[in-house]
Protein backbone atom coordinates (compact mmCIF):
# COMPACT_ATOMS: atom_id res chain seq x y z
CA UNK A 1 0.00 0.00 0.00
CA UNK A 2 2.82 2.37 0.94
CA UNK A 3 4.65 1.68 -2.27
CA UNK A 4 1.49 2.45 -4.19
CA UNK A 5 1.10 5.90 -2.61
CA UNK A 6 4.74 6.70 -3.25
CA UNK A 7 4.26 5.85 -6.90
CA UNK A 8 1.24 8.10 -6.97
CA UNK A 9 3.23 10.95 -5.48
CA UNK A 10 5.99 10.52 -8.03
CA UNK A 11 3.60 10.30 -10.96
CA UNK A 12 3.34 14.01 -11.83
CA UNK A 13 7.12 14.27 -11.96
CA UNK A 14 7.29 11.36 -14.38
CA UNK A 15 4.93 13.26 -16.68
CA UNK A 16 7.13 16.33 -16.42
CA UNK A 17 10.35 14.40 -16.94
CA UNK A 18 10.78 14.43 -20.76
CA UNK A 19 10.12 18.15 -21.00
CA UNK A 20 12.33 19.04 -18.04
CA UNK A 21 15.12 16.79 -19.26
CA UNK A 22 15.09 18.42 -22.68
CA UNK A 23 15.15 21.91 -21.22
CA UNK A 24 17.77 21.04 -18.62
CA UNK A 25 20.22 19.70 -21.18
CA UNK A 26 19.62 22.20 -23.98
CA UNK A 27 18.98 25.40 -21.98
CA UNK A 28 20.17 24.96 -18.40
CA UNK A 29 23.56 23.47 -19.32
CA UNK A 30 24.37 26.38 -21.70
CA UNK A 31 23.27 28.86 -19.02
CA UNK A 32 25.64 27.30 -16.50
CA UNK A 33 28.39 27.18 -19.13
CA UNK A 34 27.94 30.86 -19.95
CA UNK A 35 28.27 31.82 -16.27
CA UNK A 36 31.31 29.57 -15.93
CA UNK A 37 32.95 30.95 -19.08
CA UNK A 38 32.31 34.53 -18.02
CA UNK A 39 34.52 33.93 -14.97
CA UNK A 40 37.23 32.00 -16.79
CA UNK A 41 40.26 32.80 -18.82
CA UNK A 42 39.91 31.27 -22.27
CA UNK A 43 42.59 31.01 -24.90
CA UNK A 44 41.81 31.83 -28.51
CA UNK A 45 41.79 28.12 -29.24
CA UNK A 46 38.96 27.71 -26.74
CA UNK A 47 40.88 26.07 -23.90
CA UNK A 48 39.55 27.08 -20.50
CA UNK A 49 42.35 28.12 -18.16
CA UNK A 50 40.31 28.57 -14.98
CA UNK A 51 38.95 31.39 -12.81
CA UNK A 52 40.45 34.80 -13.59
CA UNK A 53 39.14 37.25 -11.00
CA UNK A 54 36.38 38.87 -13.15
CA UNK A 55 38.98 39.89 -15.73
CA UNK A 56 36.41 39.37 -18.53
CA UNK A 57 33.94 41.73 -16.90
CA UNK A 58 36.66 44.29 -16.27
CA UNK A 59 37.74 44.12 -19.92
CA UNK A 60 34.15 44.56 -21.09
CA UNK A 61 33.56 47.52 -18.78
CA UNK A 62 36.79 49.15 -19.97
CA UNK A 63 35.68 49.01 -23.59
CA UNK A 64 33.95 52.18 -24.86
CA UNK A 65 32.14 50.05 -27.47
CA UNK A 66 30.38 48.21 -24.65
CA UNK A 67 28.95 51.40 -23.15
CA UNK A 68 27.82 52.61 -26.54
CA UNK A 69 26.29 49.20 -27.21
CA UNK A 70 24.50 49.28 -23.87
CA UNK A 71 23.01 52.67 -24.71
CA UNK A 72 21.96 51.36 -28.14
CA UNK A 73 20.33 48.33 -26.55
CA UNK A 74 18.22 50.48 -24.25
CA UNK A 75 17.24 52.84 -27.09
CA UNK A 76 16.45 49.85 -29.31
CA UNK A 77 14.31 48.06 -26.71
CA UNK A 78 12.40 51.14 -25.54
CA UNK A 79 11.81 52.46 -29.08
CA UNK A 80 10.75 49.19 -30.62
CA UNK A 81 8.58 47.97 -27.72
CA UNK A 82 7.10 51.44 -27.11
CA UNK A 83 6.17 52.26 -30.68
CA UNK A 84 4.98 48.79 -31.59
CA UNK A 85 2.76 48.67 -28.50
CA UNK A 86 1.26 52.04 -29.39
CA UNK A 87 0.79 51.27 -33.09
CA UNK A 88 -0.37 47.71 -32.42
CA UNK A 89 -2.91 49.01 -29.94
CA UNK A 90 -4.35 51.53 -32.44
CA UNK A 91 -4.54 48.93 -35.21
CA UNK A 92 -6.27 46.50 -32.85
CA UNK A 93 -8.84 49.16 -31.91
CA UNK A 94 -9.55 49.74 -35.60
CA UNK A 95 -9.72 46.03 -36.40
CA UNK A 96 -12.23 45.64 -33.59
CA UNK A 97 -14.71 47.83 -35.53
CA UNK A 98 -17.07 46.41 -38.11
CA UNK A 99 -16.10 47.36 -41.65
CA UNK A 100 -16.05 45.85 -45.12
CA UNK A 101 -12.87 43.88 -45.76
CA UNK A 102 -11.95 43.49 -42.10
CA UNK A 103 -11.06 39.83 -42.52
CA UNK A 104 -8.63 40.60 -45.34
CA UNK A 105 -6.96 43.37 -43.34
CA UNK A 106 -6.65 41.05 -40.34
CA UNK A 107 -4.93 38.51 -42.57
CA UNK A 108 -2.55 41.10 -43.99
CA UNK A 109 -1.55 42.32 -40.54
CA UNK A 110 -0.42 38.76 -39.73
CA UNK A 111 2.16 38.72 -42.55
CA UNK A 112 5.17 40.27 -40.76
CA UNK A 113 4.64 38.00 -37.75
CA UNK A 114 4.87 34.89 -39.92
CA UNK A 115 7.83 36.01 -42.01
CA UNK A 116 11.36 35.08 -41.07
CA UNK A 117 13.21 38.07 -39.61
CA UNK A 118 16.14 37.39 -41.88
CA UNK A 119 14.01 37.59 -45.03
CA UNK A 120 12.23 40.69 -43.79
CA UNK A 121 15.58 42.35 -43.07
CA UNK A 122 17.10 41.40 -46.43
CA UNK A 123 14.14 42.96 -48.24
CA UNK A 124 14.52 46.21 -46.33
CA UNK A 125 18.26 46.19 -46.87
CA UNK A 126 17.69 45.95 -50.62
CA UNK A 127 14.88 48.47 -50.46
CA UNK A 128 16.85 51.29 -48.85
CA UNK A 129 19.99 50.82 -50.94
CA UNK A 130 21.02 54.25 -52.20
CA UNK A 131 22.00 53.14 -55.74
CA UNK A 132 19.29 50.71 -56.79
CA UNK A 133 16.94 50.31 -53.83
CA UNK A 134 13.25 50.12 -54.63
CA UNK A 135 12.25 52.78 -52.10
CA UNK A 136 14.12 55.41 -54.13
CA UNK A 137 12.77 54.05 -57.41
CA UNK A 138 9.17 54.10 -56.20
CA UNK A 139 9.38 57.53 -54.61
CA UNK A 140 10.99 58.92 -57.76
CA UNK A 141 8.35 57.45 -60.06
CA UNK A 142 5.62 58.80 -57.80
CA UNK A 143 7.26 62.22 -58.04
CA UNK A 144 7.95 62.54 -54.32
CA UNK A 145 11.71 62.87 -54.81
CA UNK A 146 13.80 63.97 -57.78
CA UNK A 147 17.15 62.42 -57.02
CA UNK A 148 17.94 59.20 -55.22
CA UNK A 149 18.36 59.71 -51.51
CA UNK A 150 21.09 58.09 -49.45
CA UNK A 151 18.90 56.67 -46.71
CA UNK A 152 21.77 55.65 -44.47
CA UNK A 153 24.34 58.45 -44.42
CA UNK A 154 25.30 57.91 -40.76
CA UNK A 155 25.45 55.15 -38.20
CA UNK A 156 22.42 56.71 -36.48
CA UNK A 157 20.47 56.49 -39.73
CA UNK A 158 21.35 52.80 -40.02
CA UNK A 159 20.22 52.28 -36.46
CA UNK A 160 16.98 54.19 -37.02
CA UNK A 161 16.15 51.91 -39.98
CA UNK A 162 16.87 48.88 -37.82
CA UNK A 163 14.49 50.22 -35.20
CA UNK A 164 11.87 50.73 -37.90
CA UNK A 165 12.16 47.11 -39.03
CA UNK A 166 11.98 46.03 -35.40
CA UNK A 167 8.74 47.96 -34.98
CA UNK A 168 7.42 46.65 -38.29
CA UNK A 169 7.83 43.01 -37.28
CA UNK A 170 6.67 43.45 -33.67
CA UNK A 171 3.39 45.29 -34.32
CA UNK A 172 1.37 42.19 -35.37
CA UNK A 173 2.08 40.38 -32.11
CA UNK A 174 0.81 43.33 -30.07
CA UNK A 175 -2.16 43.79 -32.39
CA UNK A 176 -3.34 40.23 -31.94
CA UNK A 177 -2.77 40.15 -28.18
CA UNK A 178 -4.78 43.36 -27.79
CA UNK A 179 -7.42 42.20 -30.25
CA UNK A 180 -8.03 38.97 -28.37
CA UNK A 181 -8.28 41.04 -25.19
CA UNK A 182 -10.72 43.48 -26.80
CA UNK A 183 -12.93 40.69 -28.03
CA UNK A 184 -13.27 39.25 -24.56
CA UNK A 185 -14.64 42.54 -23.14
CA UNK A 186 -18.37 42.36 -22.49
CA UNK A 187 -20.16 44.87 -24.76
CA UNK A 188 -22.60 45.55 -21.92
CA UNK A 189 -19.98 47.86 -20.37
CA UNK A 190 -19.96 50.06 -23.45
CA UNK A 191 -23.73 50.05 -23.73
CA UNK A 192 -24.00 51.21 -20.12
CA UNK A 193 -21.36 53.89 -20.76
CA UNK A 194 -23.25 55.08 -23.85
CA UNK A 195 -26.41 55.50 -21.81
CA UNK A 196 -24.44 57.59 -19.33
CA UNK A 197 -23.20 59.70 -22.27
CA UNK A 198 -19.52 58.79 -21.91
CA UNK A 199 -17.13 60.11 -24.58
CA UNK A 200 -14.76 57.96 -26.61
CA UNK A 201 -11.80 58.89 -24.41
CA UNK A 202 -13.72 58.22 -21.21
CA UNK A 203 -14.65 54.76 -22.47
CA UNK A 204 -11.04 54.13 -23.50
CA UNK A 205 -9.59 55.21 -20.14
CA UNK A 206 -12.23 53.74 -17.84
CA UNK A 207 -13.25 50.52 -19.58
CA UNK A 208 -10.94 49.43 -22.39
CA UNK A 209 -7.51 50.07 -20.88
CA UNK A 210 -8.16 48.60 -17.41
CA UNK A 211 -9.72 45.47 -18.90
CA UNK A 212 -6.90 45.11 -21.41
CA UNK A 213 -4.23 45.21 -18.74
CA UNK A 214 -3.62 41.43 -18.64
CA UNK A 215 -3.19 41.20 -22.44
CA UNK A 216 -0.97 44.27 -22.54
CA UNK A 217 1.16 42.98 -19.67
CA UNK A 218 1.77 39.65 -21.40
CA UNK A 219 2.58 41.23 -24.75
CA UNK A 220 4.84 43.90 -23.25
CA UNK A 221 6.84 41.54 -21.03
CA UNK A 222 7.34 39.05 -23.87
CA UNK A 223 8.25 41.84 -26.28
CA UNK A 224 10.81 43.35 -23.92
CA UNK A 225 12.51 39.95 -23.74
CA UNK A 226 12.38 39.27 -27.50
CA UNK A 227 13.39 42.71 -28.64
CA UNK A 228 16.19 42.97 -26.11
CA UNK A 229 17.58 39.66 -27.37
CA UNK A 230 16.86 40.23 -31.05
CA UNK A 231 19.74 39.37 -33.33
CA UNK A 232 18.83 38.78 -37.03
CA UNK A 233 17.68 42.30 -37.96
CA UNK A 234 20.81 44.17 -36.90
CA UNK A 235 23.10 41.36 -38.00
CA UNK A 236 21.61 41.37 -41.50
CA UNK A 237 21.49 45.13 -41.89
CA UNK A 238 24.89 46.24 -40.56
CA UNK A 239 26.58 43.50 -38.48
CA UNK A 240 27.00 46.25 -35.88
CA UNK A 241 29.02 48.42 -38.25
CA UNK A 242 29.95 51.12 -39.25
CA UNK A 243 32.74 51.10 -36.66
CA UNK A 244 30.71 49.05 -34.15
CA UNK A 245 28.25 51.95 -33.76
CA UNK A 246 25.03 50.01 -34.32
CA UNK A 247 25.51 47.00 -32.03
CA UNK A 248 23.09 45.85 -29.40
CA UNK A 249 24.27 43.43 -26.72
CA UNK A 250 23.13 40.44 -28.81
CA UNK A 251 25.14 41.31 -31.92
CA UNK A 252 28.07 42.59 -29.86
CA UNK A 253 28.49 39.33 -27.99
CA UNK A 254 28.15 37.38 -31.24
CA UNK A 255 30.94 39.39 -32.81
CA UNK A 256 33.12 39.12 -29.71
CA UNK A 257 32.72 35.39 -29.61
CA UNK A 258 32.61 34.23 -33.22
CA UNK A 259 34.63 36.95 -34.98
CA UNK A 260 37.11 38.22 -32.39
CA UNK A 261 37.63 34.92 -30.54
CA UNK A 262 36.89 36.44 -27.14
CA UNK A 263 34.39 33.93 -25.76
CA UNK A 264 35.14 34.92 -22.17
CA UNK A 265 34.15 38.52 -22.78
CA UNK A 266 31.18 37.43 -24.88
CA UNK A 267 29.98 35.28 -21.97
CA UNK A 268 30.41 38.27 -19.64
CA UNK A 269 28.23 40.37 -21.97
CA UNK A 270 25.62 37.57 -21.89
CA UNK A 271 25.60 37.59 -18.10
CA UNK A 272 25.24 41.39 -18.05
CA UNK A 273 22.32 41.00 -20.45
CA UNK A 274 20.60 38.43 -18.18
CA UNK A 275 20.95 40.70 -15.19
CA UNK A 276 19.48 43.72 -16.99
CA UNK A 277 16.64 41.65 -18.39
CA UNK A 278 15.84 40.13 -14.99
CA UNK A 279 15.78 43.56 -13.37
CA UNK A 280 13.58 45.08 -16.10
CA UNK A 281 11.09 42.22 -16.16
CA UNK A 282 10.80 42.10 -12.37
CA UNK A 283 10.26 45.85 -12.16
CA UNK A 284 7.56 45.67 -14.81
CA UNK A 285 5.85 42.68 -13.18
CA UNK A 286 5.96 44.26 -9.72
CA UNK A 287 4.59 47.56 -11.03
CA UNK A 288 1.74 45.95 -12.93
CA UNK A 289 0.89 43.66 -10.01
CA UNK A 290 0.88 46.61 -7.62
CA UNK A 291 -1.34 48.62 -9.94
CA UNK A 292 -3.72 45.69 -10.10
CA UNK A 293 -3.86 45.44 -6.32
CA UNK A 294 -4.55 49.14 -5.92
CA UNK A 295 -7.52 48.87 -8.18
CA UNK A 296 -9.09 46.06 -6.21
Amino acid sequence: MKKHSLLKKAEPYVWLLPSMLLMAVMILVPIVTVFQLSMSQITRAGVIKGYNDFENFKAVFRSPTFWHTLKNTLVWTVTVVGFSTLIGFVIAMVLNQEFVGRKIVRAIVVFPWATSLIIQSVIWKYSINADYGSLNVILQKLGVIEKYINWTPTAQAHFAWECWIGIFVTVPFVTFCVLSGLQSIDTAYYEAADIDGASFWQKLGRITLPLLKPSLTVSTVLNIIYVFNSFPIIWTMTKGDPADRTHTLATYLYKLSFYNGKSGQAAAVSVIGFVILCICSSIYMILSLRAEKEEQ
Binding site: W15, M26, P30, T33, F99, V122, Y132, F231, F274
Partner: protein, 280 residues
Protein backbone atom coordinates in the same frame (compact mmCIF):
# COMPACT_ATOMS: atom_id res chain seq x y z
CA UNK B 1 -27.46 65.65 -44.23
CA UNK B 2 -27.58 66.00 -40.46
CA UNK B 3 -24.35 66.77 -38.63
CA UNK B 4 -24.53 63.42 -36.87
CA UNK B 5 -24.68 61.58 -40.15
CA UNK B 6 -21.88 63.66 -41.60
CA UNK B 7 -19.74 62.93 -38.54
CA UNK B 8 -20.34 59.22 -39.03
CA UNK B 9 -19.37 59.47 -42.68
CA UNK B 10 -16.14 61.33 -41.91
CA UNK B 11 -15.32 58.72 -39.28
CA UNK B 12 -15.85 55.96 -41.80
CA UNK B 13 -13.62 57.66 -44.38
CA UNK B 14 -10.87 58.15 -41.80
CA UNK B 15 -11.12 54.50 -40.82
CA UNK B 16 -10.72 53.32 -44.41
CA UNK B 17 -7.85 55.73 -45.03
CA UNK B 18 -6.07 54.47 -41.93
CA UNK B 19 -6.62 50.84 -42.90
CA UNK B 20 -5.40 51.55 -46.42
CA UNK B 21 -2.18 53.17 -45.19
CA UNK B 22 -1.52 50.28 -42.79
CA UNK B 23 -2.05 47.71 -45.54
CA UNK B 24 0.16 49.54 -48.03
CA UNK B 25 3.01 49.78 -45.52
CA UNK B 26 2.72 46.14 -44.45
CA UNK B 27 2.47 44.83 -48.01
CA UNK B 28 5.32 47.00 -49.29
CA UNK B 29 8.17 44.55 -48.50
CA UNK B 30 6.19 41.68 -50.02
CA UNK B 31 5.58 43.75 -53.13
CA UNK B 32 9.31 44.44 -53.37
CA UNK B 33 10.13 40.78 -52.83
CA UNK B 34 7.72 39.66 -55.52
CA UNK B 35 8.55 42.23 -58.20
CA UNK B 36 12.30 41.93 -57.68
CA UNK B 37 12.13 38.14 -57.80
CA UNK B 38 10.70 38.39 -61.32
CA UNK B 39 13.22 40.90 -62.66
CA UNK B 40 16.02 40.11 -65.04
CA UNK B 41 19.49 40.23 -63.58
CA UNK B 42 20.62 43.03 -65.93
CA UNK B 43 17.63 45.11 -64.94
CA UNK B 44 18.69 44.94 -61.31
CA UNK B 45 21.53 47.42 -61.64
CA UNK B 46 20.24 49.34 -64.67
CA UNK B 47 20.43 53.13 -64.64
CA UNK B 48 16.81 53.83 -65.29
CA UNK B 49 15.08 51.45 -62.90
CA UNK B 50 11.39 50.71 -63.04
CA UNK B 51 9.06 49.66 -60.27
CA UNK B 52 7.68 46.64 -62.07
CA UNK B 53 9.92 44.38 -64.14
CA UNK B 54 10.18 45.47 -67.79
CA UNK B 55 9.77 41.87 -68.65
CA UNK B 56 8.42 39.41 -66.11
CA UNK B 57 11.08 36.75 -65.86
CA UNK B 58 9.20 33.83 -64.36
CA UNK B 59 12.10 31.50 -65.19
CA UNK B 60 13.88 32.89 -62.09
CA UNK B 61 11.55 30.77 -59.99
CA UNK B 62 12.78 27.67 -61.80
CA UNK B 63 16.44 28.64 -62.14
CA UNK B 64 16.97 28.94 -58.38
CA UNK B 65 16.59 25.18 -57.94
CA UNK B 66 19.62 24.54 -60.14
CA UNK B 67 21.63 27.68 -59.28
CA UNK B 68 22.24 26.48 -55.73
CA UNK B 69 21.30 23.49 -53.53
CA UNK B 70 18.03 25.23 -52.71
CA UNK B 71 16.10 21.98 -52.66
CA UNK B 72 18.50 20.59 -50.08
CA UNK B 73 18.06 23.74 -47.91
CA UNK B 74 14.30 23.33 -48.00
CA UNK B 75 14.58 19.66 -47.15
CA UNK B 76 16.82 20.51 -44.18
CA UNK B 77 14.35 23.12 -43.00
CA UNK B 78 11.52 20.60 -43.19
CA UNK B 79 13.54 17.98 -41.27
CA UNK B 80 14.61 20.45 -38.58
CA UNK B 81 11.24 22.15 -38.15
CA UNK B 82 9.29 18.88 -38.43
CA UNK B 83 11.52 17.03 -35.99
CA UNK B 84 11.55 19.89 -33.50
CA UNK B 85 7.77 20.17 -33.66
CA UNK B 86 7.26 16.48 -33.06
CA UNK B 87 9.70 16.39 -30.16
CA UNK B 88 8.37 19.61 -28.62
CA UNK B 89 4.79 18.35 -28.66
CA UNK B 90 5.68 14.85 -27.40
CA UNK B 91 7.45 16.37 -24.40
CA UNK B 92 5.03 19.26 -24.03
CA UNK B 93 1.74 17.35 -23.86
CA UNK B 94 2.57 15.26 -20.75
CA UNK B 95 4.09 18.30 -19.05
CA UNK B 96 1.09 20.50 -19.81
CA UNK B 97 -1.20 17.66 -18.71
CA UNK B 98 0.54 17.34 -15.36
CA UNK B 99 0.46 21.09 -14.87
CA UNK B 100 -3.24 21.39 -15.64
CA UNK B 101 -4.69 18.19 -14.15
CA UNK B 102 -2.51 17.14 -11.23
CA UNK B 103 -1.71 18.58 -7.83
CA UNK B 104 1.88 18.23 -6.68
CA UNK B 105 4.57 19.95 -4.70
CA UNK B 106 6.57 22.54 -6.61
CA UNK B 107 3.99 22.98 -9.37
CA UNK B 108 4.21 26.75 -9.31
CA UNK B 109 8.02 26.52 -9.25
CA UNK B 110 7.96 24.39 -12.38
CA UNK B 111 5.63 26.81 -14.08
CA UNK B 112 7.86 29.70 -13.02
CA UNK B 113 10.93 27.92 -14.42
CA UNK B 114 9.17 27.32 -17.72
CA UNK B 115 8.32 31.01 -18.02
CA UNK B 116 11.80 32.01 -16.85
CA UNK B 117 13.37 29.94 -19.63
CA UNK B 118 11.83 32.45 -22.06
CA UNK B 119 14.32 35.02 -20.83
CA UNK B 120 17.19 33.10 -22.32
CA UNK B 121 17.09 33.58 -26.05
CA UNK B 122 19.42 31.33 -28.03
CA UNK B 123 21.65 34.23 -29.01
CA UNK B 124 22.68 35.13 -25.45
CA UNK B 125 23.42 31.47 -24.77
CA UNK B 126 25.25 30.87 -28.03
CA UNK B 127 28.67 30.60 -26.44
CA UNK B 128 27.33 27.92 -24.09
CA UNK B 129 25.26 26.22 -26.78
CA UNK B 130 28.25 25.97 -29.09
CA UNK B 131 30.31 24.39 -26.34
CA UNK B 132 27.55 21.94 -25.45
CA UNK B 133 27.08 20.95 -29.09
CA UNK B 134 30.82 20.43 -29.51
CA UNK B 135 30.83 18.13 -26.46
CA UNK B 136 27.82 16.18 -27.78
CA UNK B 137 29.35 16.11 -31.29
CA UNK B 138 26.23 17.79 -32.64
CA UNK B 139 27.83 20.70 -34.47
CA UNK B 140 26.80 20.46 -38.13
CA UNK B 141 24.05 18.03 -37.29
CA UNK B 142 20.35 18.23 -38.07
CA UNK B 143 19.63 16.35 -34.85
CA UNK B 144 21.39 19.08 -32.85
CA UNK B 145 19.15 21.80 -34.27
CA UNK B 146 16.06 19.61 -33.75
CA UNK B 147 16.89 19.20 -30.06
CA UNK B 148 17.69 22.88 -29.59
CA UNK B 149 14.59 24.16 -31.38
CA UNK B 150 12.40 21.73 -29.46
CA UNK B 151 13.90 22.88 -26.16
CA UNK B 152 13.58 26.59 -26.89
CA UNK B 153 9.96 26.11 -27.93
CA UNK B 154 9.04 24.06 -24.83
CA UNK B 155 7.92 27.09 -22.86
CA UNK B 156 5.48 28.20 -25.54
CA UNK B 157 4.24 24.69 -26.19
CA UNK B 158 3.55 24.06 -22.49
CA UNK B 159 2.02 27.51 -22.10
CA UNK B 160 -0.34 27.09 -25.05
CA UNK B 161 -1.27 23.48 -24.28
CA UNK B 162 -1.83 24.12 -20.60
CA UNK B 163 -4.12 27.03 -21.45
CA UNK B 164 -6.10 24.78 -23.78
CA UNK B 165 -6.32 21.93 -21.25
CA UNK B 166 -7.44 24.31 -18.49
CA UNK B 167 -10.23 25.63 -20.69
CA UNK B 168 -11.67 22.11 -20.99
CA UNK B 169 -13.70 20.80 -18.09
CA UNK B 170 -12.16 17.64 -16.51
CA UNK B 171 -15.60 16.06 -16.09
CA UNK B 172 -15.39 13.98 -19.27
CA UNK B 173 -12.05 12.54 -18.24
CA UNK B 174 -13.42 11.67 -14.82
CA UNK B 175 -16.28 9.85 -16.49
CA UNK B 176 -13.80 7.96 -18.65
CA UNK B 177 -11.85 7.07 -15.53
CA UNK B 178 -14.94 5.54 -13.94
CA UNK B 179 -15.34 3.50 -17.11
CA UNK B 180 -11.90 2.04 -16.43
CA UNK B 181 -9.78 4.31 -18.57
CA UNK B 182 -6.29 4.96 -17.21
CA UNK B 183 -4.64 8.38 -17.19
CA UNK B 184 -2.97 7.84 -20.53
CA UNK B 185 -6.17 6.44 -21.99
CA UNK B 186 -8.25 9.38 -20.89
CA UNK B 187 -5.61 11.81 -22.14
CA UNK B 188 -5.35 10.26 -25.57
CA UNK B 189 -9.00 9.30 -26.09
CA UNK B 190 -10.85 12.08 -24.30
CA UNK B 191 -8.77 15.18 -23.68
CA UNK B 192 -6.65 15.38 -26.83
CA UNK B 193 -9.56 15.11 -29.30
CA UNK B 194 -11.33 17.91 -27.44
CA UNK B 195 -8.14 19.96 -27.30
CA UNK B 196 -7.40 19.40 -30.99
CA UNK B 197 -7.60 23.09 -32.04
CA UNK B 198 -5.13 24.04 -29.31
CA UNK B 199 -2.81 21.15 -30.15
CA UNK B 200 -2.82 22.01 -33.86
CA UNK B 201 -2.15 25.67 -33.03
CA UNK B 202 0.83 24.63 -30.92
CA UNK B 203 2.12 22.30 -33.64
CA UNK B 204 2.00 24.98 -36.33
CA UNK B 205 3.41 27.68 -34.08
CA UNK B 206 6.43 25.58 -33.08
CA UNK B 207 6.92 24.55 -36.71
CA UNK B 208 6.96 28.17 -37.90
CA UNK B 209 9.29 29.26 -35.10
CA UNK B 210 11.75 26.50 -35.97
CA UNK B 211 11.39 27.11 -39.70
CA UNK B 212 12.23 30.81 -39.25
CA UNK B 213 15.04 30.23 -36.72
CA UNK B 214 18.27 31.81 -37.89
CA UNK B 215 20.78 32.47 -35.12
CA UNK B 216 21.54 28.93 -33.99
CA UNK B 217 21.53 27.56 -37.51
CA UNK B 218 23.94 30.28 -38.63
CA UNK B 219 26.35 29.43 -35.83
CA UNK B 220 26.16 25.65 -35.87
CA UNK B 221 25.77 24.75 -39.54
CA UNK B 222 28.87 25.44 -41.59
CA UNK B 223 28.48 22.47 -43.95
CA UNK B 224 26.61 23.83 -46.94
CA UNK B 225 24.43 20.77 -47.52
CA UNK B 226 23.15 20.87 -43.94
CA UNK B 227 21.99 24.48 -43.89
CA UNK B 228 18.30 25.30 -43.53
CA UNK B 229 16.78 27.79 -45.92
CA UNK B 230 17.13 30.84 -43.64
CA UNK B 231 20.91 30.43 -43.67
CA UNK B 232 21.13 28.88 -47.12
CA UNK B 233 19.73 31.89 -48.99
CA UNK B 234 23.00 33.64 -48.20
CA UNK B 235 24.54 31.79 -51.17
CA UNK B 236 22.94 34.40 -53.41
CA UNK B 237 24.53 37.10 -51.31
CA UNK B 238 28.02 36.85 -52.71
CA UNK B 239 30.94 39.15 -52.07
CA UNK B 240 31.09 40.53 -55.60
CA UNK B 241 27.61 40.25 -56.93
CA UNK B 242 24.35 39.88 -55.08
CA UNK B 243 21.78 37.83 -56.99
CA UNK B 244 18.81 39.74 -55.63
CA UNK B 245 16.35 38.13 -58.03
CA UNK B 246 17.30 34.60 -56.91
CA UNK B 247 17.49 35.66 -53.28
CA UNK B 248 13.95 36.98 -53.37
CA UNK B 249 12.55 34.16 -55.49
CA UNK B 250 13.85 31.69 -52.92
CA UNK B 251 12.59 33.86 -50.06
CA UNK B 252 9.16 33.84 -51.62
CA UNK B 253 9.10 30.05 -51.59
CA UNK B 254 10.21 30.10 -47.95
CA UNK B 255 7.61 32.68 -46.93
CA UNK B 256 4.31 31.93 -48.64
CA UNK B 257 3.62 28.45 -47.14
CA UNK B 258 4.47 29.74 -43.67
CA UNK B 259 2.10 32.69 -43.98
CA UNK B 260 -0.69 30.38 -45.09
CA UNK B 261 -0.05 28.07 -42.12
CA UNK B 262 0.02 31.04 -39.81
CA UNK B 263 -3.29 32.36 -41.10
CA UNK B 264 -4.89 29.04 -40.11
CA UNK B 265 -3.95 29.41 -36.45
CA UNK B 266 -3.91 33.17 -36.01
CA UNK B 267 -7.23 33.28 -34.14
CA UNK B 268 -6.38 30.55 -31.65
CA UNK B 269 -2.83 31.72 -31.18
CA UNK B 270 -3.41 35.22 -29.82
CA UNK B 271 -6.17 33.99 -27.51
CA UNK B 272 -4.00 31.08 -26.35
CA UNK B 273 -0.94 33.20 -25.65
CA UNK B 274 -2.77 35.69 -23.46
CA UNK B 275 -5.09 33.14 -21.86
CA UNK B 276 -2.19 31.01 -20.67
CA UNK B 277 -0.85 34.10 -18.94
CA UNK B 278 -4.05 35.22 -17.32
CA UNK B 279 -4.82 31.81 -15.91
CA UNK B 280 -1.28 31.35 -14.60
Amino acid sequence: MTSRKRKKLIQKICLYLFVLVVCVIILYPYFVMFTTAAKDRDEMYALNMTILPLEWKWSNFIEIWSAAPVFRYFLNSIIIAGGATLLAILCGIPAAYAMSRMQFKGKSIFLGLVIMSQMFAPVVLLVGIYKLMTTLKLVNSLLGLILLNAAFNQAFAIWLLRGTFLSISPEMEQAAKIDGCGRIGSLVRVLLPMAAPGVVTTLIFVFINSWNEYTMALTLMSTDTLKPITVGINVFYGFNMIQWQYLFATSLFATVPVIILFLCIEKHLAAGLTAGGVKG
